[in-house]
């Protein structure tokens, strides 16, 4: 399988704060790849760099073989790279349908309407509430909406930053179930998550970062059995 996205020796931060010192990772086409690490390890910063929201101070990001330095976040969406950000960030004053439609704003109008039907098939709950303001939804519903909005751009690669944060266990399980279905439909996924066990059970490959550096990488199943991972992240 070919590498769809790679990050090589990236350093990044905000002001004087250096969050990423040297992080490398790669995501193979068709895979679910996990990015793990404790709070403050730099997972969200990795996602922001990949999505084009934060220019790296050093290193290279390649998507589909091209160096994407200088490509704005909105043009990365058009190129097939979509981030579902931490904290959902839905447009609270838009209806559900407006949120979804603007997610497809870089697609031709005809494709957008067809895609909307697919998203509604995947998330029947959103169809029921399509005329409601997104701000009135529960956290889990907003997460579904954020996922649907990200999928509206028909991305080749979907970046998910903490998609189960703050959700009830049943809701979180539903999100993981959706992630599997999204991959089966042909979308590559990179997921940053707190829930290490479920994430490793879902993913093919995983990278662990700590203090802005890589500390571990390998097949997800192997990491699940790794003594260091079990002790540090699974509390066993």
């Amino acid at each position: 399988m070919t590498v769809l996205l790679s990050m090589e020796l990236v350093a990044a931060g905000y002001g004087d704060a250096e969050v990423l010192r040297e992080v490398s990772l790669s995501v193979r086409e068709g895979s679910i790849t996990a990015l793990l690490g404790a709070n403050g390890a730099g997972k969200t910063t990795v996602m922001r760099v990949l999505a084009g929201m934060l220019p790296p101070r050093n290193g290279i990001v390649r998507f589909a073989g091209n160096d994407v330095a200088g490509v704005a976040a909105w043009d990365r969406v058009a190129a097939g790279l979509a981030l579902v950000p931490e904290g959902r960030q839905v447009f609270a004053d838009f209806t559900i349908e407006e949120n979804l439609r603007i997610g497809g704003c870089r697609r031709p109008a005809a494709k957008r309407t067809a895609r909307l039907d697919e998203i509604y098939a995947l998330f029947p709950r959103l169809l029921e509430r399509r005329r409601q303001l997104a701000g009135s939804l529960s956290g889990g519903e907003q997460q579904m909406l954020a996922l649907g909005r990200g999928l509206m751009s028909e991305p080749r690669l979907l970046l998910l930053d903490e998609p189960t944060l703050g959700l009830a266990p049943a809701m979180a399980a539903a999100v993981f179930d959706l992630i599997r279905r999204i991959r089966e439909a042909g979308t590559t996924i990179l997921i940053a998550e707190q829930d290490v066990r479920t994430t490793l059970q879902t993913a093919d490959h995983a990278f662990v970062i700590e203090n802005g550096r890589n500390v571990l990488a390998g097949p997800a199943a192997a990491l699940l059995d790794d003594a260091a991972v079990r002790e540090s992240y699974l509390g066993m």
């Binding site: 909105w74 960030q89 838009f94």
Partner: protein
Amino acid sequence: MSSLLSGQLLVAALATGGLYALVAVGLNLVYGTMRLLNVAHGEFVMVGAYVAFLLFSTWQIGPPWSLLAAFAVATALGLAAYRGLFHRLLERNQRVEANSLLLFFAVSVILQNVVALTFSANERAYRHLDGIVTFGDVSVTESRLLALVVSLAVCLAVALALRYAAVGQAIRAVLQNRDAAALVGVNVVQVQRLCFAFGVGAAGMAGALISLTQGISPFMGFPFTIAAFVVVILGGLGNLTGSLVGGLLLGFLETYGIALTAASYRSILLYGVFVGVLILLPRGLFGRRAARR
């Protein structure tokens, strides 16, 4: 009290309110999409007024061309300021509000003085469209009627575009959450540039309309800056429909307030409303939550 119920006062209030709304929508677009505090907004009104004055006194060109020319000149000036000053400020994205306040203050002083040097500080006026239109018991000058119709029509067009046009949806997305807008593929920089150009252009067009109904001077802009801030705070920061409602409301407060007192109370009313709203309704008439970034 019967005079308070006259159609005359109602039309005057609508005309004033419409102009306030038109000026304030521009200010709110610029603040809402970029967090730039445009304290030079009234100076773009003033520039538009001088463009219309110049066109009429030199070539007898009036509306609609003078309105479009005022829009175009204010837009061109605004885009030059955007490119030279504010684009960089936005890219650096540090202390945008405070720095924009200082930069716009400089723009304001420069514009006032350039116009004063070129045209002198004296008040200017011209007579155009001063025929009287009468319907029922209401008599109104053509110029005031034009100001009312054009400003309300432009505000309505803005409201419809925001609701139904693709670019309007993009603007509303940026107003709500700039990062999220970028992440769904909205070209945020393009939206910001458009809002800046349209915002100051609308101010310029309002200036051209105002020049038809009252004398103009290089220092006429400041009360409009204040009025626009009052309206924006009344209607809510980033809430454009709120600005339309707030503009009309301020027009009514001012017109009826003056009718109940005297014209010399105009400034007191304006600033009184400003202070009152800040104290009583700091989030505006429709403010449910604080302005989000």
